[in-house]
């Protein structure tokens, strides 16, 4: 069964306003050298998908810069490859003139031309707020065996470890894998099965239900399409049990990032057999640990120069840590410059931040201290 992909880059942006002030959810930096979209893209590419439509909405300059022509995901192709689908507003139209879509359903309607021109049997839809490494090929195979209309990738989340919010869709699944009920998260405690916002759907079916829902003036993919299809018994869950993180706030971003310092979790996410996570290659030099540097339990990308002490932290590419400085429990994004004799604890610095000599900054793991892109302290 052939498949094409569709990625929604902006859905859930509003849940992390700090990190999405000048970027999309899809282009939030993660794990030292990645952007959140790398997981959605790599999942698709690893399952043999060679055509991906990328739905963008606003704030997508940083995303386009990251994606380029798609070469780093092997998606720069004559046939298929990566297609960027920005908002589409017709100049002479009436009802939709000057109105950019605002929901997943409207976005799908806006890219109907892309969907119609695909020749693939199934489409894989994915958001960018979820960090996981799923074997989608397997999900597609199961989708076919089940004779499903829609298959939803789901994961088990322990709410004591990973709090959820009302953006999460909780599913109830019967023994055959059928989804019997679905509802937005409502403060349930303990382990719950949630949608990863990754769907496998038959293309012809999607074309039909989306056109129908729009014709009826409906706006929500979950409430107006998925919920209504459940009684027919052809919506299935495909359970995924690897590393699963969901970014729905700055705090959860911090928590999802720090989980990578647990080596087992990190290996589970990045070292799955035949499922590498691809990202843009930046041509950084190797990281240099100067004489006297001290580093422990940290994830460090290339291009860094470390002269001070780094512990329990994540350093993105090109970060500099000066002499006498101690960085603890922090996330320093690309090209952050931390000068000499600085103390940082539970801090998130966005790209190109400069921390001058002798500064002391401290947040808490439940309230990390965030420093915006290109600020100087």
């Amino acid at each position: 069964m052939t498949a094409a992909g569709l990625i929604f880059s902006n859905i859930h942006d509003s849940s992390v306003p700090e990190l999405t002030a000048r970027r999309t959810m899809a282009s939030i930096p993660y794990g030292g050298r990645y952007r959140l979209i790398d997981f959605a893209l790599s999942n698709m590419v690893n399952s043999g998908i060679t055509k991906v439509g990328l739905i963008t909405h606003y704030n997508y300059q940083s995303l386009l810069d990251h994606i380029g022509n798609g070469k780093d995901w092997d998606l720069a192709r004559r046939h298929g490859g990566l297609k960027i689908l920005p908002p589409f507003i017709t100049a002479y139209d009436n009802a939709t003139a000057n109105k950019v879509y605002s929901t997943r359903l409207e976005a799908l309607m806006g890219v109907m031309d892309f969907i119609n021109h695909c020749t693939e049997d199934v489409l894989v839809l994915s958001d960018c707020d979820v960090i996981c490494n799923v074997d989608i090929a397997q999900a597609i195979e199961r989708h076919e065996q089940n004779g499903a209309d829609i298959s939803v990738i789901t994961a088990t989340v322990d709410t004591a470890v990973q709090p959820l919010d009302a953006h999460a869709e909780v599913v109830k699944v019967d023994a055959a894998g059928r989804i019997t009920d679905m509802a937005t998260y409502d403060a349930e405690k303990g382990e719950v099965e949630v949608s990863a916002d990754i769907f496998v759907v038959r293309r012809s079916y999607l074309q039909r239900v989306v056109a129908d829902a729009i014709a009826h003036g409906q706006t929500s993919f979950y409430k107006d399409v998925l919920y209504r299809q459940l009684p027919k018994g052809r919506v299935f869950a495909h359970h995924y049990d690897g590393f699963f993180g969901r970014v729905n706030s700055l705090e959860s971003y911090f928590r999802c990032s720090m989980r990578l310092l647990d080596r087992g979790s990190c290996v589970n996410l990045f070292y799955r057999h035949n499922q590498p996570i691809f990202t843009k290659v930046r041509n950084s030099v190797p990281t240099r640990y100067a004489p006297g540097a001290k580093v422990s339990n940290s994830l460090i990308a290339d291009g860094c120069v470390i002269e001070g002490t780094v512990e329990n932290s994540i350093l993105f590419r090109g970060v500099k840590v000066g002499k006498g400085t101690r960085v603890s429990n922090s996330i320093l994004m690309q090209d952050t410059l931390v000068s000499e004799n600085v103390r940082l604890n539970c801090v998130i610095t966005d790209k190109n931040v400069i921390i001058k000599d002798n500064r002391e900054l401290c947040g808490h793991e439940t309230m990390p201290f965030y420093i915006a892109k290109e600020s100087q302290v």
Binding site: P276, P286, P291, S296, N297, I300, A301
Partner: protein, 394 residues
């Protein structure tokens, strides 16, 4: 259709590099890993691109598989161009039989067609076995301003070492008056860097004459340059100041790797917009464990350090397990150092496995300059000992 290119670079990459022994058993010297995530040829290729030269012929002969694969379409250096770009030029079969490249000059002679296709006015001859960063555009400007027939880049070397190089004697204007290959009593300290710019037509006529001479060994240094000098062509020296190292021996390769370390590294891999470009995998960031010690080291993506790493250069995907130590060493990549193992004063090629508790090499102070070398794919059994200066290959 071929657009005219003012200058075409020809990169000699066919040498065996026999003095690197196990490291070049399966790989041509230019494809030997350097500095963790580079190959030696990256330096010359990056120089070309950053000097604005976008047409590069790479002449291969010895063990070209890894090199061909590495260069591929030339994408990492932006040399995947519609016109020009990087082209691999292996020896080929012609109408009148087939020949290996008999010498550096013969390799270019056999590929004069390539230069003609781009109708180049100048030809830059390079070799893919030196570590240096140089703007060839400045050298070309100098060549044009001087109205020279040939310009040779030279670097000042200590008088005591001059007898190891091809030495240029120049007059006050920089014009070369004498060339002596490895002279016993050098009268100058200007060593040839093996970088030449020729006017195309001049080069072609000398190469054709050289090819017709059965006694010639078809080498630039031995034959072509002396012949041009003897004929009174205008040959100029272009002085280069900066880091330059021939990494043709085990000890010089080790030293050059160490030059990227330290508080103020002698060899900077990136300065401002000038950086060395390379093809590399997409590995996750390196992880440094809770009890790891990393001091004065250069470490690349995909590494996992749980033990100790000091004064060392580690390539991609090296795992240093608990209690293991790596000191004064160069690990090229995809290597596992088992728990409690010790690696000192050694060079390890790709895909080496050092078993738990094994000992490779000896402390540098007591090794008497003897570097242990382990070739690609070798497995050192747990508890085994590999003495200083040993050379292991599969």
């Amino acid at each position: 259709m071929f657009k005219k290119k003012e200058c075409v670079a020809m990169l000699l990459a066919g040498g065996q590099g026999s003095r690197l022994y196990a490291l070049t058993a399966k790989t041509a010297k230019p494809a030997v890993t350097f500095g963790g995530k580079y190959r030696i040829i990256d330096f010359t290729l990056s120089n070309c691109v950053q000097s604005g030269l976008d047409t590069v012929g790479v002449l291969t002969q010895y063990q070209p598989l890894v090199l061909n694969e590495y260069i591929g379409t030339g994408l990492p250096w932006d040399l995947d161009r519609n016109y020009g770009g990087v082209k691999i030029l292996p020896p080929y079969q012609g109408k009148n039989g087939a020949d290996w490249y008999k010498g550096t000059a013969n390799a270019i002679y056999q590929n004069m067609q390539f230069i003609e296709r781009y109708n180049a006015d100048y030809v830059l001859i390079l070799s893919g076995d030196h570590i240096y960063q140089m703007d060839y555009a400045k050298m070309l400007d100098c060549h044009k301003t001087n109205g020279a027939d040939c310009t040779i880049a030279v670097i000042d070397v200590p008088l005591s070492e001059a007898s190891r190089f091809g030495i240029m004697t120049t007059d006050a204007t920089g014009r070369i008056t004498k060339f002596s290959e490895k002279p016993k009593n050098p009268d100058s300290t200007k060593a040839s860097m093996g970088i030449y710019i020729f006017n195309r037509d001049k080069l072609f006529s000398y190469l054709t004459a050289d090819a017709a001479d059965p006694k010639s060994s078809n080498d630039f240094g031995k034959n072509v340059i002396p012949a041009m000098l003897a004929a009174g062509e205008k040959m100029m020296a272009y002085p280069f100041v900066g880091y330059w190292k021939d990494v043709g021996t085990i000890s010089s390769l080790w030293e050059a790797n160490m030059d990227i370390l330290g508080e103020k590294p002698q060899l900077k891999l990136a300065t401002g917009n000038w950086r060395v470009l390379s093809r590399h995998d997409n590995a996750p960031p390196q992880y440094v464990g809770p009890d790891a010690v990393v001091d004065n080291a250069s470490i690349t993506e995909g590494c996992e350090i749980l033990g100790t790493v000091k004064n060392s250069v580690l390539g991609e995907n090296v795992r240093v397990m608990e209690g293991a130590s790596v000191v004064d060493s160069v690990l090229m990549g995809d290597t596992v150092i088992g728990p409690g193992a010790r690696v000192e004063y050694a060079i390890l090629d790709h895909n080496v496995e050092v078993g738990a508790g094994a000992a490779v090499g000896a402390p540098r102070e007591s090794a008497d300059g003897k570097i242990a070398v382990i070739g690609e794919g070798v497995r050192v059994e747990a508890g085994a000992t590999v003495p200083a200066g040993a050379m292991l290959s599969e």
